[in-house]
């Protein structure tokens, strides 16, 4: 853009200096070219402004949360009210129900429900309490009930929210490594084309057809990659913007780009791959009972059980038994529910002299034996079979009768296997991280279709896994929430911390997911890829455009002296003036035309790299060659119609 500015200024001065020597058509032509060169500059700045404007709108809604807050700072025994902006790291503030939390920090006393809708858009309040993994609070969120003491962990102005605001506004955007590399190429290209145009004048003089400065500047501006140059920063801002739309805050553009480059994703099993709790999927009756009988007993034993496992047993049993026979008919006063304890490792209910129990195989078995019964071999085999398949077997018994086995299973989310398959097509390895034993983990890993898993994972395991992957050249992305995830989050190339997680985790990662949805990592990767694709596609398009511009301008420049050059004017443009002007106008308008695409991003389909390449290459490469021929011709026709000579 700098080249365009200098060139336009230079051409204007030259034009004014030689004004008296020119014919009126030449003057009109020169003025039109200069005006359009000026427009080129305006449009280039416009694209950035539009991108920033969109970001700013988002930032404004974030910022509205933090206007003029007052913090009640605890000073020994006294409490003083100070403006939030003056808070220092280590200050402790008291926040009561109805007040807005003045800063990013950590709860060190109390428990409260907090409305975080200002930053997450989620209206349901969340619990924040001292200690543990739910202690972090974000400035700008509102305490709904109770009272907490918050210790300030971020200086004002450096809080997450503020970093985010300045990022979406594009205020302190640093160039990402990829942009740096691309910029080098673009400047190299500009220099070479500058030389090409600058040395053209001596050759033209040698050929007895010296060119006006305006024409040479027009040629230069058309040739240097102004289009991509003008759109580059808009593309970067728009990428971050798309992340914000997904409720993900990134601390740097670099992280977004790295997300597109990731080869390995570390995904927590719970919440990402499975629904997060085990569910009953089958009843296996013993030799002496029926499936219906088993279902009924299991249901009775679980009715009082409010755990997700218990509820899933009740749900599953409903398909097998009639409603009227359900335990609701039994007088509740006769109920004695037996809760689960770590000692007995079973739970159940006593109703009218009958005891129903469900629980771990050996615990229930010994209970039955105690009651004078015995366990059939079939059920025992079933228990070990389910366990070896990675499931959880629950033995169900009524007094001295063993009724059978309930199969509890970690249920893999519905579409997750397909998503992992697309990731694999994109060359991304998915790794499941779980606290389960290796057997259980292997079963789920197989079902979900992940490439690898880390069972009985400790934070150290994660860290060393990440390091090993990075040593082999991979970029690793992960999600995490607990404080003990912090080292791994910091080590990973893309660390997405859950907003519900601790402040330490958020600090360590380079993104925060406000929805605390670990599956979002997949979307983040796609956004990163889309950013890179958009950049590459528009660069290709921009460079490919030059071919048509050459064919418009070069014959126009030299046709007068060398009428033989006519065959080069393959677009049959009317005359030298319309040809050059058409190229300049196209060059300016294409920037505007591409702004929506730069902001929206090139459409991204998760398929193999070669099909993505083929698609984008045919649209932006071949399209980039063909489109300007048509467009320049069309502009030329219009210019001719309005009588440009």
């Amino acid at each position: 853009m700098f080249v365009v500015e200098i060139g336009t200024a230079f051409a204007t001065i030259d034009f004014l200096a030689t004004l008296d020597k020119q014919s009126s058509t030449d003057i009109i032509f020169a003025i039109s070219v200069l005006i359009w060169l000026f427009f080129t500059l305006v449009f280039a700045n416009f694209s950035e402004v539009v991108a920033e404007r969109r970001g700013r709108a988002q930032a404004a809604s974030l910022r509205s949360a933090r206007t003029s807050l007052v913090a009640r700072v605890i000073n020994g025994d006294t409490i003083t009210e100070v403006p939030a902006e003056t808070l220092q790291v280590g200050d402790r503030c008291r926040v009561s129900a109805g007040e807005v939390i003045p800063c990013d920090g950590e709860v060190i006393e109390g428990i409260a429900s907090v409305d975080e809708s200002a930053i997450t858009g989620e209206s349901a309040p969340v619990i924040r309490e001292a200690g543990g993994d739910r202690s972090s609070v974000t400035g700008g969120t509102k305490v709904l009930s109770d009272e907490i003491v918050v210790i300030v962990t971020q200086e004002p102005g450096k809080s997450f929210l503020e970093k985010m605001i300045s990022l979406v506004e594009g205020a302190n955007r640093q160039k990402t490594p990829n942009e740096v590399a691309l910029n080098i190429l673009l400047s190299g290209l500009s220099i070479i084309l500058l030389l090409s145009v600058a040395t053209l004048q001596p050759f033209a003089i040698f050929s007895h057809s010296p060119q006006g400065i305006v024409v040479l500047v027009a040629l230069l501006v058309c040739l240097i990659p102004t289009t991509i140059g003008a759109l580059l920063s808009a593309i970067g801002i728009a990428g971050i913007d798309r992340l914000v739309k997904q409720n993900v805050l990134a601390t740097s553009g670099r992280a977004v780009e790295a997300a597109g480059d990731c080869n390995t994703l570390l995904l927590d099993k719970t919440g990402t791959i499975t629904y997060g709790n085990r569910q009953a999927v089958a009843f296996y009756p013993s030799s002496s009972s029926t499936e219906r009988e088993l279902a009924l007993a299991a249901r009775l034993a679980s009715l009082a059980d409010q755990t997700p496992e218990g509820r899933s047993i009740v749900e599953l049993s409903e398909s097998l038994i009639d409603k009227d026979q359900s335990a609701t008919n039994i007088d509740p006063s006769e109920w004695i529910s037996i809760p689960f304890s770590a000692n007995t490792r079973m739970s159940g209910v006593d109703i009218g002299g009958s005891s129903y129990r469900k629980g771990a195989g050996d615990a229930v078995a010994s209970w039955v034996v105690q009651n004078g019964g015995s366990i059939d071999q079939g059920s025992l085999d079933r228990v070990s079979e389910i366990a070896s398949n990675g499931g959880t077997p629950l033995l169900v018994a009524q007094d001295d009768r063993c009724l059978g086995v309930v199969y509890l299973k970690d249920v893999v989310k519905k579409d997750i296997a397909a998503r992992f398959a697309t990731m694999r097509a994109l060359g991304i390895r998915t790794v499941m991280v779980t606290g389960d034993n290796p057997v259980t983990a292997a079963v789920i890993a197989k079902e979900a279709g992940v490439d690898d898993f880390i069972a009985q994972a400790t934070p150290e395991d994660k860290l060393s896994y990440i390091r090993a992957e990075q040593r082999s050249g991979s970029l690793v992305a992960m999600t995490g929430d607990g404080t003990n995830d912090a080292p791994a989050l910091a080590q990973a190339d893309v660390g997405v911390a859950m907003n519900s997680g601790t402040q330490a985790a958020k600090e360590a990662g380079n993104m925060v997911d406000l929805d605390s949805n670990p599956t979002k990592l997949l979307e983040i990767v796609e956004i990163g890829k889309q950013l890179l694709i958009t950049r590459g596609s528009l660069t290709t398009f921009s460079i490919a455009n030059d071919i048509a511009k050459y064919f418009a301008i070069i014959p126009a420049m030299f046709q007068k002296v060398f009428p033989a050059l006519k065959p080069l004017n393959i677009m049959h443009l009317t005359n030298a003036h319309t040809a050059i002007l058409a190229a300049v106008i196209f060059n300016a308008l294409i920037i505007v035309a591409l702004i929506p695409l730069a902001l929206r991003g090139v459409k991204f389909r998760a398929t193999s790299s070669s099909s993505i390449l083929r698609r984008n290459l045919s649209i932006y490469g071949i399209g980039g060659v063909v489109l300007p021929f048509i467009a320049i011709k069309a502009i030329d026709v219009v210019l001719t119609l309005i009588g440009v000579k």
Binding site: A181, I612, L613
Partner: protein, 570 residues
């Protein structure tokens, strides 16, 4: 286009396709670590020689040390060649009593031969003594080609090594390139040439009385041996001024075929060596196919323009000498080896930085010389000079990967090596520096009065001649369009500058790139990786090369050869 020409082209392509992979495998063995460390007799001798010269044959160099060794070696070579030419009148083997070469011409020639350009602003037989030709120019024909091979191997190592601080040892590579590849192959080619009547003697000058009673002195010399390396090392500097159209250099069809083959074989075999280094045959084949397509296209275009141009327009342009009995005798050609082979020869020498000629290029249809000019503008990558062709096209390949690789949504990588800012900087310098020098110097040449006086033809053809001379020297080709009398101080010096920039200005970034890439940890390859061994990539690579070159030179081309051709066609 005649069928015999097409048949000749087909046979040539077939020979190359069959033999290039074999030679490529051999070249890989010459440079690979495992073969270098083997205890063969030859290796032992070589190691002793290197140790005696003060080089530790087992130690490797960083890219900087490699580059410094290379530059030092080349500077000493230039100095030696310069002095040799200046004092040749006091040295033996000077029967014709040739004088000392003028300073500007001596600098031009010294740099020309050290940079593998072999631009000649002089007539060999009447300027250089046999001693200068043999211990000076012929030696540089070997070692300048060996330097090119070394850089190509160093960049190959850079791309294929992982986390390595070194890229090989320049002295070992230089020695091996010379003794294991260039000398044995030259011996074979020389013997084949001698068998067909190319002279190789120490008679030097033979004076005879002609039938018509005149007196004529015919220079002899060690021609066949120099001819062999002239082609194999893509040098192009002829023993005689007439170059490969002189009957002592190129007597018949067979020697003509051998010469074209010798020009092409090493550059075409290097991609296969590269594939072996990378452990992926297909990568090498892709590069080979790209080179082959570009060279074949250029040959066909030249054939087309050479055989189909309207003859009356050629007569008008004074380019056909005479028409007798319906037979056209084109200007600047020898019917002994006639038109079609001139086109293929021209395509081959301009595509390989050889620059040898077997017909007068200035007499061709301007479009044909335009194609030859474009071949050189490509940066000598189709298949390019010995060594320089490979490292040139690899740099284009990395550029192609960078631009199109982003479109799959990843930081672009070539053979697993990420292409980032540092690499792009070097690549940009590589691609920028030579066209910049060429265009600036050409622009100066058309503006300066003294230089304009040297132009043989007015108008567009004159412009073509100037551009051609700078494109040729800047790309270390050495082919001349003729017409331009460039043995002036102005051209001698500007061309010398141009040749230095075009050679070392590219080698240094190429070596730096080798160093940067060697240090990198490769990214694991998978389905998400940009594949560089598919036809799609081959087309992207060709498009990138043509586009970059086209964008740079289109204005100049349109004012020179394009206008000249269209003027003729009207």
């Amino acid at each position: 286009m005649t069928t015999s020409a097409l048949a000749g082209l087909a046979i040539l392509i077939l020979t190359l396709v069959v033999t290039a992979p074999l030679l490529g495998r051999y070249i890989y063995r010459v440079y690979s670590d495992e073969h270098q460390s083997r205890e063969t007799k030859l290796n032992k001798v070589e190691r002793r020689l290197l140790t005696w010269l003060g080089v530790d044959p087992n130690s490797e160099q960083t890219w900087k040390a490699y580059a410094i060794s290379l530059i030092a070696f080349s500077m000493v070579s230039v100095l030696f060649l310069y002095l040799l030419q200046r004092v040749q009148n006091h040295l033996p083997l000077n029967p014709s009593h040739l004088t000392s070469v003028s300073p500007a011409l001596a600098i031009n020639t010294a740099i020309s031969f050290v940079t593998n350009t072999n631009w000649q602003n002089y007539a060999g037989e009447s300027t250089m003594t046999a001693l200068t030709q043999t211990i000076g120019l012929a030696v540089q024909n070997f070692v300048s080609a060996a330097v090119g091979l070394s850089v190509a191997v160093a960049l190959t190592r850079g791309i294929t090594r992982h986390r390595s601080g070194t890229i090989g040892n320049f002295w070992v590579d230089l020695l091996r390139s010379t003794t294991r590849i260039l000398i044995p192959m030259s011996a074979l080619v020389a013997i084949a040439m001698v068998s067909q009547g190319v002279i190789d003697n120490l008679t030097l000058t033979k004076c005879i009385s002609t039938i018509s009673g005149g007196h004529q002195c015919i220079p002899g010399g060690l021609v066949a041996s120099q001819e062999a390396i002239k082609e194999l090392g893509t040098n192009g500097g002829g023993y005689f001024n007439a170059n490969s159209i002189h009957p002592f250099e190129n007597p018949n069809y067979i020697t003509n075929f051998i010469e074209i083959y010798a020009i092409l074989i090493i550059p075409f075999s290097l991609p296969f060596a590269f594939g072996k280094f990378a452990g992926r045959r297909r990568e090498g084949i892709t590069i080979f196919v790209v080179m082959m397509l570009m060279w074949a296209t250029s040959s066909l275009l030249l054939l087309h323009f050479e055989t189909s141009t309207n003859q009356t327009s050629l007569i008008k342009a004074d380019k056909i000498v005479s028409i007798s009995g319906g037979k056209v005798l084109p200007e600047g050609q020898d019917l002994r080896i006639s038109t079609p082979s001139c086109a293929i020869f021209a395509a081959s020498t301009t595509s390989t930085s050889t620059g040898a000629v077997n017909c007068a290029l200035d007499s061709l249809d301007p479009a044909a010389s335009g194609v030859a000019l474009f071949d050189m503008m490509l940066g000598e990558v189709s298949p390019g000079g010995v060594g320089s062709g490979l490292y040139g096209i690899l740099i284009f390949a990395i550029l192609a990967v960078f631009v199109s690789g982003l479109m799959i949504g990843r930081t672009p990588e070539y053979l697993g090596k990420k292409i980032q800012g540092a690499e792009m900087k070097l690549i940009t310098i590589y691609l920028l520096i030579s066209p910049a020098a060429i265009m600036i110097l050409s622009a100066i040449a058309v503006m300066v009065k003294t230089s304009k006086g040297a132009i043989g033809n007015p108008g567009p053809q004159g412009l073509s001649e100037i551009i051609y001379s700078f494109v040729s020297t800047g790309n270390n080709n050495g082919s001349a369009l003729g017409g331009l009398s460039s043995n002036t101080d102005f051209y001698n010096i500007t061309q010398a500058i141009n040749m230095v920039i075009g050679r070392f200005g590219l080698m240094i970034p190429a070596l730096a790139l080798a160093g940067a890439l060697a240090a990198k940890q490769p990214v694991p390859q998978g389905t998400g990786t940009f594949s560089t061994d598919k036809p799609l990539f081959a087309s992207i690579l060709i498009a990138t090369i043509v586009l970059v070159v086209g964008l740079t030179y289109f204005p100049v081309l349109s004012l020179g050869p394009i206008v000249a051709h269209l003027n003729l066609a009207r």
